[in-house]
């Protein structure tokens, strides 16, 4: 019942939240449900026994006429995805505490309700062990996602939401054909059933398997997303709020790669191997293409969205090279990408809320000076995106690259190019948004073009105007920063805050727009993510301990064994006897 509770809790939360009388109350209650779900998720994790296959299972017939069961269970992969979901959702809620109440947005009540609904359905997706149930919740996640995209965010979001939904529905319907195919196959085998365990036991004829594989794979490729069916991604992340983007990219899109592991590899092993060359090439294209296109973006959120294309390329690559290193790397990457990209999106969201624009050019940089913590968090996210060792994505990226290299040297060599491209997009982004003197850094910058809007914001700010000097090299007179708590955004729409700095520094030559640093709530959002990045960067073994048995089982299903090193005995414990 643990898993049912886990799914029902946020679902009930969504319904309750939706009918509460006030937004403020809805936020508290919604948050409460989010945290409670986190607690249940943590409890489920404690009940999980590493290396024991599918666990916490619940199976009861649902639609007997179709052989459908309400069947839940988690293996290592599922557990990690569940944990990722339950951790990220409260953070997203916390990060979007004020955002949904902005004029033009749909209000916090519905934001919280939809988010919880999405959480519930995502959890169901990750725990479903019946193909039908999986498909049902897989598609059902689209509804809350659709309303989250369409209801909150920037102008043009309705169109983006429609595009998102259609793309996903298209994928889902194609998959439906394959789901039905599986059903027919199982019926022909004499036992119409959708249970994964039943289906896995069936030997599916090769041609049929390939067709079914294609259906599944297209759907998952759209979900993941992969080149060339990724174009919904950038549009969506560009228009939606960053919280929504986190839910989409960090949780929902994982369903794609999750499905590839669970269904493509698990149920259709021969077809998966048959498709490997094509999939690997597509993954490599995604890796490189995503990174290149990301470099060319001006919109922060679009850029971040496209980086995920590159990262999902890595995950898919890891899955389809069929080695334990690759698969484990891919699963680990799914977790790490979730953390890293969540951080990136949320910090970018904080930034955009302050500057009032998502255009890199219009932002003009210079944020670091006024908001070092914001910039620091952003930098950590950027470095995580480019796979810096010491931050968690490195380990997974390295594992995938190693596995790809072992698969074919060319695959590894192409994939590794991404580390350069990632450095370019991540650091160039950082450079253009955070560094430099800022858009009001020079005297003549004050009255030029699009800067006016924010310039007037600064003027209308109520606090004392802090002025920073840029005279000599050693000066960046930001002054001692007041305690972060005092920076609470007033919510009146003026996001450009002034800082309490000594008037003495007013002798400097140029004024800078003051962007408030992270406040306590925002630090609360950022800190766990940063902590996770660093912790799992240095010590990912807790995750890998959960992942490895799952990988072993999955690859056992496929029936491949790892290639041996060409020389040496490859001592497992390395050079320490």
């Amino acid at each position: 019942m643990t898993l049912t509770t886990l799914i029902l809790l946020p679902l009930v939360g969504a319904v309750v939240t939706a009918f509460l009388p006030s937004h403020a109350l809805a936020k508290r209650v919604g948050m409460g449900f989010g945290v409670a779900t986190l607690a249940v998720g943590a409890y489920a994790a404690t009940r999980y026994d590493v290396g024991d296959g599918m666990q916490l299972t619940e199976t009861r017939p649902w639609i007997e006429a179709l052989g459908v069961h309400y069947a839940l269970g988690v293996d290592g992969l599922g557990l990690l995805m569940v944990l990722l979901t339950v951790v990220l959702v409260p953070l997203v809620l916390l990060a979007g505490w004020h955002e949904a109440d902005d004029p033009g947005n749909g209000g916090s009540r519905s934001f919280f309700a939809w988010t919880l609904a999405l959480e519930a359905l995502s959890l169901a997706v990750f725990t479903a062990t019946d193909v039908f149930l999986f498909y049902v919740v897989f598609e059902a996640t689209l509804i809350p996602a659709y309303f989250l995209i369409g209801g909150f965010g920037r102008a043009g979001r309705g169109r983006a939401a429609t595009k998102f939904l259609l793309y996903q529905l298209a994928g889902g319907l194609i998959m439906l054909a394959s789901v039905i195919g599986l059903y027919v196959v199982s019926a022909d085998a004499g036992n119409p059933s959708f249970l994964i365990s039943d289906l896995a036991a069936i030997e599916i004829e090769e041609t049929t398997q390939r067709w079914i594989f294609v259906g599944f794979f297209i759907a998952f490729a759209i979900k993941a997303p992969m080149f060339p069916v990724h174009t919904w991604l950038a549009d969506t992340t560009e228009k939606a709020t960053t919280g929504t983007s986190v839910l989409l990219v960090c949780i929902l899109d994982k369903i794609g790669t999750f499905g590839m592991l669970r269904f493509c590899l698990g149920l259709l092993p021969e077809a998966s191997q048959w498709a490997t060359p094509v999939v690997v090439v597509l993954a490599l294209i995604s890796i490189i293409y995503g990174a290149l296109v990301a470099i060319g973006q001006d919109d922060v959120l679009r850029l971040i969205g496209l980086t995920s294309l590159s990262h999902f390329g890595f995950i898919v690559l890891g899955i389809f090279v069929f080695s334990s290193t690759g698969a484990a790397g891919a699963i680990l990457y799914m977790v790490n990408h979730g953390i890293a990209t969540a951080l990136m999106f949320l910090v970018a969201g904080f930034l955009i809320r302050r500057t009032g624009t998502a255009s890199i050019r219009a932002m003009g940089g210079g944020v670091e000076k006024a908001a070092p913590m914001l910039a620091g968090a952003f930098l950590i996210a950027a470095l995580a995106a480019c796979g810096l060792p010491g931050l968690s994505p490195f380990v997974s990226e390295m594992m995938v690259i190693i596995a790809a290299f072992e698969h074919h040297w060319l695959a590894g060599s192409v994939a590794v190019l991404a580390i350069v491209l990632a450095a370019i997009y991540a650091l160039w982004l950082y450079q253009r948004t955070m560094t430099g003197p800022g858009r009001l850094g020079s005297d003549d910058g004050v009255r030029t073009g699009s800067h006016d809007a924010t310039g007037s914001h600064a003027e209308s700010g109520t606090g004392s105007h802090a002025v920073s000097g840029t005279g000599s090299h050693a000066v960046s007179g930001t002054g001692p920063h007041a305690a972060t708590g005092s920076h609470a955004v007033s919510g009146t729409g003026s996001h450009v805050m002034t800082d309490a700095a000594p008037a003495a520094s007013a002798t400097a030559t140029a004024t800078a727009t003051r962007v408030a640093d992270l406040d306590r709530r925002e630090v609360g959002v950022v800190a766990p993510l940063v902590l996770g990045l660093v912790l799992f960067g240095f010590y990912p073994m807790p995750l890998l301990d959960v992942i490895n048995p799952t990988v072993r089982d999955t690859l056992g299903q496929v029936g491949v064994t790892d290639s041996e090193p060409t020389v040496g005995e490859g001592s497992t414990e390395g050079g320490h006897p």
Binding site: D235, V475, G570, G574
Partner: protein, 653 residues
């Protein structure tokens, strides 16, 4: 292979196998502390700022320095302990924890402490601590000094990880860690566009090198199933020549990035945007030499990959001349020094590329260079400090009277680098040129030429800065730096002078033998003493040339424009940036913006186009629904015909 470039290669049996002793016990159990101390310092300084900002601002620099100093003490203790062990027992391993593990892949957080690491430890923590002290003064007026020390500590910790790593993945961790620290420190004043851009450029170019290192790691896993130095060195003999050559070239690519070797040299001069202590520590003494460390550390691969070794020698030779040429043309004191750094690292790489015979000298030169170049950079910083941060040497002149301590310490460094007899650089560079000549004549001559040019540009720098007329603007009041800055200078000057003692009795060669193996002796074409004399003579020529070209003429405040092509080229970094721009950046930018457009109109266009095509079709079809009942009836009849014909076709066809 070109006979002129052919190098001898030793047979496999005399390459020492790395076989660390993990049960050394005693003080060696605390090996991890060397890294942990500065790391802790970094964490306290960077994260602690969020909690106790005010108090930490006041004592942050002291904490940072103390962390570094403690690490130095630790290194010293370890070094002494290592000295106390037998020659065969000087490889200490420590397994901290398993970093990641899956299937057959297992990477431990392993440390390896051996004679090579020991020397690096001393260099990093020793010079590092001195630079910390210096920075207390240098950064005194920067409001973000706490953060600066945090970064410095981070750097020290990462660099220590790099040199203490027991396998290539951990090495990569340190490798990227120093890259990060370098990025943060180059861009420390990131409100300046140039600093931010330089930081990014450094990181990105380094990443190109990292491709090599990453792939090397992948190849090692594929080949050996491990990246432990022990495992790889044990099994390297069994790998195919091709694999080893590729492995060597990949490692070289990595080394090129980190050590600013041609063709990945372009970032180093820009990196001078960072505060001067950074330039001294990272971009002169320690980090940029990581490439040399990598090559020496990977001797068990390179010894079996002669082609890769040849490649190292070629790259190193080109770089040592390239850097020297840049050094001649730069008016920016730090950039001139940076050119020199490139050139000197070229020497080290050259020595490392020469194989067993050269490893020890590479490390020797690395150490002495660490001393004298740090010394000179800090000296340059001291000059800038007195000159209101002006870096243009054309605005200096005659400073020796105003900053005597700086001048004297700088002079020690100067004499060391040009190889003035008995100064540290004399010993180390001489050994390299000697070995190079013994191995290959062309390379040796190039190295000799480089020594001459070094003499020229360093003399030029010296003359423009400390001699001649004063050329600074009104309002600038050159003055000596405070004690906290000059004391490190003095210590480093002393080391610059005395660094040569390491070679006494070939101590360093013997010390490193457990790592590098015993070199076969190749007789140089001339007696060693003659070579030394020739080198000294060439250097003297260079110095003399500088004297005639610089000291005997007025130095204009503005750089003359009508200069020879060679000068122009050298000023433009030998068109390195221009080449990168034309070959990579601009096509890259075009491709990226093209792709971005393609993504929107091409890939997405298919989707959007598909949907609008359906919409258009729908719009056309809907016109058929024209409201006239008779045309509906017609369509009905048509449908009936269709149905009947279809049936007839199926049944009777």
């Amino acid at each position: 292979m070109n006979p002129l470039l052919s190098l001898s290669s030793e047979s496999a049996h005399d390459i020492p196998v790395v076989h660390p002793d993990t049960g050394a016990g005693g003080v060696f159990d605390l090996l991890w502390l060397v890294i942990a101390l500065p790391l802790l310092g970094a964490v306290v300084l960077l994260v602690g700022g969020a909690f106790a900002r005010g108090r930490l601002e006041r004592v942050g620099h002291l904490i940072g320095t103390a962390a570094s100093a403690a690490s130095f003490v630790m290194s010293l203790v370890l070094f002494l302990a290592l000295l106390g062990r037998g020659e065969e027992e000087r490889q200490i391993g420590q397994h901290l924890f398993t970093w990641f593990e899956t299937g057959s892949l297992s990477v431990g957080m392993d440390l390896l402490y051996d004679p090579l690491s020991a020397l690096f430890l001393l260099l990093i923590t020793g010079v590092g601590t001195l630079i910390h002290v210096y920075a207390i003064g240098y950064m005194a007026h920067d409001v973000r000094r706490r953060r600066f020390f945090g970064y410095l500590n981070l750097f020290v910790a990462a660099m220590l990880v790099l040199v203490l790593a027991g396998n290539y993945v951990v090495l990569f961790l340190g490798w990227e860690g120093v890259g990060l620290a370098s990025y943060l420190l180059i861009g420390f004043w990131q409100h300046k566009h140039s600093a931010a851009a330089a930081a990014k450029k450094a990181f990105v170019i380094n990443r190109v090198g990292d491709i090599g290192l990453s792939l090397a790691i992948a190849l090692m896993f594929a080949t050996f199933g491990t990246t432990d130095f022990g495992g790889v060195s044990e099994a390297s003999g069994e790998a195919s020549d091709r694999t080893l050559t590729i492995l060597g070239l990949l490692l070289l690519l990595g080394a090129c990035g980190k050590s600013a070797q041609v063709p990945l040299q372009a970032w180093l001069l820009d990196a001078m945007e960072g505060p001067t202590p950074v330039s001294a520590l990272i971009h002169a003494a320690t980090m940029v030499t990581a490439g040399v460390y990598l090559v020496v550390r990977s001797n068990f691969i390179f010894e079996l990959a002669p082609i890769a070794q040849t490649a190292i020698v070629v790259v190193a030779t080109v770089t040592l001349l390239w850097g020297a040429v840049l050094g001649c043309a730069k008016d920016d004191i730090k950039k001139a020094l940076a050119g020199s750094t490139m050139s000197q690292i070229g020497y080290m790489m050259l020595a490392a590329g020469l194989g067993t015979a050269g490893y020890a000298f590479a490390i020797f030169h690395l150490l002495t260079h660490g001393f004298f170049k740090a010394n000179m950079f800090l000296g340059a910083g001291s000059v800038m400090h007195g000159m209101d941060d002006d870096v243009d040497m054309r605005h200096y002149g005659g400073l020796r009277k105003f900053m005597p301590v700086t001048f004297l310490t700088f002079a020690m460094g100067y004499l060391a680098i040009i190889g003035f007899p008995l100064f540290s650089g004399f010993w180390s560079k001489d050994k390299i040129i000697e070995t190079a000549l013994a191995e290959n004549l062309v390379v040796g001559l190039c190295a000799l030429l480089g020594a001459g040019i070094t003499g020229f540009y360093m003399t030029r720098l010296m003359l423009m800065t400390f001699f001649g007329e004063k050329r600074w603007a009104d309002g600038v009041h050159p003055h000596e730096s405070p004690k906290v800055m000059t004391i490190p200078l003095i210590v480093l000057a002393a080391l610059s002078v005395l660094g040569g003692v390491l070679i006494l009795g070939d101590w360093i060669v013997g010390w490193l033998e457990p790592v590098t193996g015993v070199a076969e002796h190749h007789a140089p074409p001339l007696p060693a003493l003659v070579i030394t004399l020739i080198v000294t003579a060439v250097v003297a020529l260079g110095v003399a040339a500088a004297w005639f070209l610089v000291a005997r003429r007025d130095v204009p405040r503005e750089a003359p424009r009508d200069v020879s092509f060679a000068t122009r080229a050298a000023r433009a970094d030998l068109y390195g940036d221009a080449f990168n721009d034309a070959a990579v950046v601009r096509p890259g930018t075009r491709m990226v913006s093209g792709l971005a457009t393609f993504d929107r109109s091409g890939v997405d266009g298919v989707v959007e186009g598909g949907s609008s095509a359906v919409g258009g079709l729908s719009g056309v079809m809907r016109r058929l629904q024209n409201g006239y009942v008779r045309s509906y009836a017609l369509s009905l009849l048509g449908g009936a015909l269709l149905v009947v014909l279809a049936l007839l076709a199926v049944n009777l066809g």
